[in-house]
C-alpha cells in the first residue's frame, strides 16, 4: 500500500450465505478524514459489509486494509484494537451499566491508560493516575455529545436519541482510526437528525476522524457525505461524489423502481 492517504481499502470483498451473494466484489477506498457514505435499498448488503470490516464475518473472497495493514480474517477484538469501531443499527449498549461505565469499558484497552495488574493490585500512584485520566477522557467524550449530566444514569434509562449518541461515544472511546456508523439517524425526528449531523461533522473536523456511514435518510447523506458507494443486491451499483451518485439514473431506479410508460 503505497498511498499513505488511504485509510480503508477493500479489494473484491465478497461473502455468500447459502446461495445468496450478500456481498460481491465490493471495492471501496476511503481517504483519511473523509466522511464516506454507504447506501442502498433494504437488504443490499450494507450491514454485511460492516460485519466483514469488523470481523464478525470472514469474507470468502477479497481482502481489506486499514491504513495499509491487512486485517482480513482477524478476530473482532483485534480489529477493534487496530482501529475500527462501530455502532449498531439496533442499539446495543450495555443497558444495565451506567452511561459513563459504557464509555469506560471502551477506554480500557487503549495503551494510553494501560497499567499493569501489579500496579492496579497494589493501587500504586500510576493506577490512580491512569484511572483519573480515563475518567476525564470519558467525561470529555460525553460532553461532546451533551451527555455529561446523565453520566450516572443507567444506559437503558436514556432517551432513544441519547442512546444513539452514547453508542457513538462508546465507539469513539476505543480510539479508532475509522468509525463505522450503522444508520445513526434511524428513528430520530428531524430536529434530532439535524443535531446529529452537526455532531458527526464535529467528530470529523475536530477529532480528525474518518467515518463510514450507512444511512437511509437521504437528506442526511446529501448533507454531510463527501463520497458515496451505492450497493444493490450485494454489488456496487455506483460510486463517486455524492451529488453525481444521487443523480445517477441507475441509483434512482434502484430506489424508486423503473418508470413504466
Amino acid at each position: 500500500m503505497s498511498d499513505n492517504n488511504i485509510m480503508l481499502k477493500t479489494e473484491n470483498l465478497g461473502i455468500s450465505f447459502g446461495g445468496l451473494k450478500a456481498a460481491h466484489d465490493v471495492n471501496i477506498e476511503i481517504r483519511k478524514n473523509q466522511l464516506y457514505g454507504l447506501i442502498g435499498p433494504n437488504g443490499a448488503g450494507k450491514t454485511t459489509v460492516f460485519n466483514i470490516l469488523t470481523g464478525v464475518y470472514t469474507p470468502l473472497t477479497g481482502r481489506f486494509y486499514l491504513d495499509g495493514e491487512d486485517l482480513t480474517g482477524q478476530r473482532q477484538e483485534i480489529i477493534n484494537r487496530k482501529g475500527i469501531a462501530r455502532t449498531f443499527q439496533n442499539i446495543r449498549l450495555f443497558n444495565n451499566m451506567s452511561v459513563i461505565r459504557n464509555v469506560l469499558v471502551g477506554l480500557h484497552n487503549s495503551a494510553e491508560y494501560k497499567c499493569t495488574p501489579f500496579e492496579s493490585m497494589f493501587r500504586l500512584p500510576r493506577h490512580f493516575d491512569s484511572e483519573n485520566r480515563m475518567r476525564d477522557r470519558a467525561k470529555e467524550l460525553l460532553r461532546i455529545f451533551g451527555l455529561e449530566e446523565e453520566r450516572n444514569l443507567l444506559a437503558c434509562n436514556l432517551s432513544y436519541g441519547n442512546q444513539r449518541k452514547l453508542e457513538i461515544a462508546r465507539a469513539l472511546a476505543t480510539n479508532p482510526k475509522l468509525l463505522l456508523l450503522d444508520e445513526p439517524a434511524a428513528g430520530m425526528n428531524p430536529q434530532e437528525t439535524a443535531e446529529l449531523m452537526k455532531t458527526i461533522k464535529f467528530i470529523k473536523n475536530e477529532l480528525n476522524m474518518t467515518i463510514l456511514l450507512i444511512e437511509h435518510d437521504m437528506k442526511l447523506v446529501a448533507g454531510i457525505c463527501e463520497e458515496l458507494t451505492v450497493l444493490n443486491f450485494g454489488e456496487v451499483l455506483a460510486q463517486g461524489k455524492t451529488s453525481d451518485v444521487l443523480n445517477n439514473p441507475d441509483v434512482i431506479t434502484a430506489y424508486l423502481g423503473q418508470d413504466e410508460d
Binding site: G55, E77, N96
Partner: protein, 289 residues
C-alpha cells in the same frame, strides 16, 4: 438465634457455590453442572494435603484453591471451549458428562469409601460455645461475607469486572469494544472455581469426610439457590444461598418436618419457577425486535 446463625453459615456455603453457577451462567450462558464436583476435588485436595506428616491447614487451603482454579480453567478449555456456539443442550450434556467423569476419577483414585479429613477443625471458643454456636459456623459466615464483599468490589471497581459485566450483557458488542471474550470466560471459570474451593473448605468444617459424591448435593442445592435468587445475578446468588440455608436449618430444627427438608427446598424451587421464573433479583429480559 442459633438456628439462624447456623442457617446463615450454611447459606454462605451455598452462596459461594451459587456464585460459581451464576457467574458462569451470566457470562458463558451455560449451566456448569460439573461445578459441584469441583468442590469434591477441592475437598480431596485438602484431604491429601492434610494427610502428610506435619499437616499445615494454610498450605492445605492454598493447595485446594490452586487445584480448583486450575481444574476449572482446564475443564473450560478442554470440555466447553470447543463447544462454544454449539446448542445449549450439547453444552449441558457435556457438563453432566464432566461431572460424572470427575466423580469416577475420584472413585478410582481414592476409592468409594469416605476419607476422614483429620485435623480439619477450628479451636472451640468458650464464649460462643455456651450459646451452642460452633466456631466453624461463625468463621464460615464471616469469611463467606468477606469473600462476597470482595467479589462485589472486584466486579464493580476493576476493569476486568467491567469487562465481565459487558460480556454478560452483549458478547458481540463487547468484542467490538476490544474485549477478549474468551479470556473473560476463562477468568470467570477461574474465579468461580476458586470460590468453590472455599466452599469445600467450609463444607469440611461441618462434615469432615471427603467422598466422590460429596459435591452432588451441595451443588444441586446451590443451583437451586442461584435460581431462587435469579440466575445470572450476583447479589441474587448471595441472597438465594442465604435464604436456602436458613430454610434448611429451620426445617431441620422442627422435628415433624425435618425428614422432608430436601423435599421442601426443591418444592421452593418449583414454586419460584412457577410464580417468578426470573428469581428474586433476576432481570426480566425483554426481547427487542
Amino acid at each position: 438465634m442459633i438456628t439462624l446463625i447456623d442457617g446463615l453459615s450454611l447459606g454462605s456455603i451455598y452462596a459461594l457455590i451459587a456464585l460459581g453457577y451464576t457467574m458462569v451462567y451470566g457470562i458463558a450462558k451455560m449451566l456448569n453442572f460439573a461445578h459441584g464436583d469441583i468442590i469434591m476435588v477441592g475437598a480431596y485436595a485438602i484431604y491429601v494435603a492434610m494427610s502428610f506428616a506435619n499437616p499445615n491447614p494454610v498450605i492445605a487451603l492454598i493447595s485446594s484453591i490452586i487445584v480448583c482454579t486450575l481444574l476449572g480453567v482446564f475443564v473450560e478449555k478442554f470440555a466447553y471451549k470447543p463447544l462454544r456456539g454449539a446448542s445449549p443442550l450439547a453444552v449441558l450434556i457435556t457438563a453432566i458428562g464432566v461431572s460424572y467423569f470427575l466423580q469416577s476419577v475420584a472413585q478410582i483414585v481414592f476409592g468409594s469409601q469416605p476419607k476422614p479429613v483429620s485435623g480439619w477443625k477450628l479451636p472451640k471458643i468458650e464464649f460462643l460455645n455456651q450459646f451452642g454456636i460452633t466456631t466453624g459456623a461463625v468463621v464460615t459466615l464471616i469469611a463467606g461475607i468477606l469473600i462476597m464483599v470482595a467479589l462485589t468490589l472486584f466486579i464493580n471497581i476493576t476493569r476486568t469486572g467491567s469487562a465481565m459485566l459487558a460480556v454478560s450483557e452483549d458478547k458481540g458488542a463487547a468484542k467490538l469494544m476490544g474485549i477478549n471474550v474468551n479470556k473473560i470466560i476463562t477468568i470467570t471459570f477461574a474465579i468461580g472455581s476458586a470460590l468453590a474451593s472455599f466452599a469445600s473448605m467450609f463444607y469440611l468444617l461441618q462434615i469432615p469426610n471427603a467422598e466422590p459424591t460429596l459435591g452432588a448435593m451441595p451443588g444441586i442445592k446451590a443451583f437451586t439457590a442461584a435460581v431462587i435468587g435469579g440466575i445470572g445475578s450476583i447479589p441474587g446468588a448471595m441472597l438465594g444461598g442465604m435464604v436456602l440455608g436458613v430454610i434448611e436449618k429451620i426445617c431441620l430444627s422442627i422435628e415433624v418436618i425435618s425428614p422432608y427438608t430436601t423435599a421442601i427446598e426443591f418444592s421452593l424451587l418449583i414454586l419460584i419457577l412457577l410464580v417468578k421464573p426470573t428469581g428474586f433479583l433476576g432481570r426480566t429480559t425483554k426481547e427487542k425486535v
